[in-house]
Point group: C2
Chain length 406, copies 2
């Protein structure tokens, strides 16, 4: 398939040019400058850019969006979220994850890291809808026993890891405060054994203080880690973290919304720590929009220094670094690369002047993208979701809303 006659931004470092692409078998076969007359998918007035990645979420919490506004973290979690989560069935988690992917596709996100329960239903939803994902089962043993969760996570790995080149499975120790030291050690061992990543909440709240050297002794330093939040990470530990296979998932909206503050992203980047963007779950954000996180992250770092988190750094974090954290090839539109694309409509008033289109991607893009492609397949195109029956999905969602909230 050929597509284009539009602006193409090949990667975060380049500038857009007029051109077209050829996509074959899920890969980019050619990137050509100029116009082509007989094009399969004309995209006049559009811009094609590398896709975005969401490195931390709990996708099915899309069902719980807005249930707990304007309350403390404790009330949010224990008063509102947990009682509702107890009512979530596998079918609900499946449709919640379909809904989350609809939103992500609409916002140019092609891959996400998930941590939740009924994770097998999450995998089926990803298989069906068509995004990429790094899936983990949330692991907790605060009661002294993990209730078979690690076993579930391994079953998920056996069943889904590598599926269609789009699904990867890691392990999901919830946090050092909800996992015993022995349990963490076991999880890191399993991760090493299978060479799979670990997703963990780390230094989210001001109350969280850890002996980082102890966590390293347990194995944290020997596996690939996506550490969500890192708002209250001691800055003197950053040089140490920069030497590890360690990716911060920066979740600026959720960190503000739950009263946790602003992560020291400038300091992380200065010390060479890899930082990517995540949304956290839709019950503490309340969207799944990496364009929003990118803009907010930049604004928050500029609060003290207007030169901080510049346009190219933001785009790099949202594309290349996000893909690398999840374990997918991505972040560039080049021959031989996976055909993961985002198409934006430039016919919007906030894209003027067009000369600065690349800057507008970070600071002036508001609203959904025009289309999103994963592995050569449109998962969102001009208001439609080609991979699902939208009417059927909304019917199911209305039933779920009725059941959950009645």
């Amino acid at each position: 398939m050929t597509l284009g006659n539009c602006l193409i931004l090949q990667d975060f470092k380049s500038e857009p040019f007029l051109g077209w692409l050829e996509v074959e078998d899920g890969k980019i076969k050619r990137v050509v400058k100029g116009r082509r007359e007989d094009i399969d998918q004309p995209l006049e007035g559009k811009l094609v850019m590398p896709a975005l990645y969401n490195t931390h979420t709990h996708a099915a919490m899309s069902l719980l969006r807005g249930v707990a506004e304007d309350v403390t973290f404790e009330e949010w979690l224990f008063g509102r979220i947990l009682p509702l989560e107890e009512r979530l069935t596998e079918e609900m988690v499946y449709y919640g994850t379909i809904l989350a992917q609809m939103e992500m596709a609409r916002n140019g996100v092609v891959g996400f890291a998930d941590m939740y329960f009924h994770e097998d239903a999450v995998a089926r939803a990803v298989a069906d809808f068509g995004l990429r994902a790094l899936l983990t089962r949330g692991l907790v043993d605060v009661g002294g026993d993990d209730g078979g969760r690690l076993k579930e996570n391994l079953k998920l790995y056996e069943r889904w890891n590598g599926y269609d080149g789009r699904i990867l499975v890691g392990l999901g120790p919830h946090s050092p405060y909800s996992c015993s030291r022995g349990y963490l050690e076991k999880i890191f061992d399993v991760a090493k054994e299978h060479d799979i990543p670990v997703v963990i909440h780390l230094y989210e709240t001001a109350q969280e203080r850890y002996d980082l050297e102890e966590l390293l002794r347990l194995g944290l330093g020997e596996v690939k880690v996506i550490a969500a939040h890192c708002v209250h990470v001691p800055t003197e530990k950053l040089p140490l973290l920069s030497k590890l296979n360690f990716y911060v998932s920066h979740n600026p909206t959720s960190n503000l919304k739950l009263g946790n503050g602003v992560a020291p992203v400038r300091e992380m980047l200065r010390e060479g720590v890899k930082v990517t963007f995540g949304t956290d779950g839709p019950a503490s954000n309340n969207t799944l929009d990496i364009f929003h996180e990118m803009r907010l992250a930049s604004l928050l770092q500029k609060m003290k220094d207007p030169s901080a988190l510049d346009v190219e750094t933001c785009l790099k974090m949202a594309t290349v670094d996000g893909a690398e954290a999840l374990g997918f090839e991505g972040g560039a539109i080049r021959e031989g690369f996976e055909a993961d694309l985002v198409v934006l409509d430039l016919k919007k008033p906030s894209f003027f002047p067009l000369k600065h289109a690349k800057r507008h991607l970070v600071h002036a893009f508001s609203g959904e993208v025009f289309a999103t492609m994963v592995k050569g397949r449109w998962v969102y195109f001009n208001g439609e979701y080609p991979t699902i029956d939208e009417g059927e999905v909304y019917k199911k969602l209305a039933e779920i809303e009725e059941k959950l909230y009645s």
Copy 2:
């Protein structure tokens, strides 16, 4: 005209219900619960809500969007913005203001407060496009002479104040650091004489320290004031400000982007100071989107206290309080009120669960609105701008981009 068969949110305090409206002569004639069969404008699957107001901008700076990213305030203003502003003609300001209104209409904003030059062209653009505006000519006498600016501002007042019930004219003293004390006193006198408001930048940067009592003696306390920014206002002065006819225009995006910080909005509200939302100019934001400012403002105040700036307070500030600051009737969909409406498409994944639709307006609405009505006339409807020739406008804008940036 009848419209509806959709959810209607009458004001910030109420909850949405299914209903329809009748609009006649630019006013809301009836608001009726339930469905109506023979409806002129069916809006199934939509939500109608009161319109939003942008209480501080420099609209024509839409032409300068993105020219100065990731630089200090000094470099932004003196190195990039001022040299380009010297090249702006009346025609450019006219089209820049058309473009800004296209963006605002697309984001549900029906009225804005402006401060710029070639303000007569701004007035013509507002007359033609159809938004509401409080217009001021930026007034500065740092060189000892104001170059006829106050005279221009008064001419603007004589020519445009009251036009079509949509245009009001105030005075625009730029700031206490760019206006001499004598000049400020004269401006306040003229404002009193004509009973018109004053728009001023106040306490934007950490360097700005004022003798507030002196400003009051000059007349600040005897006129209606919209004070943009107020990031570094001394909190002990808030009780005093709460007793005046004084509206803060809170511009959270611009304040972060230019490195000025976060305004003490919680403290302002606690002390009874009236706070509204503004975007500032598109060269320091870079959008004209009050939904974005509302969400960001709430997140920033929650940074330290997750219960701060709750959903209803945000909606009140963006609607009722914004309209009041500008001097228009607005903020509610009620019989006899001006027919200023915003229509949102609920068929977006981030609006689930629908039960919490009102909360989603603040925390989960991303993307443009479906339609915006001012005085009974659609200024934006499903991708189209009925009041202008969009093709012609974009042609002119392309020519302007060429002239400005070549």
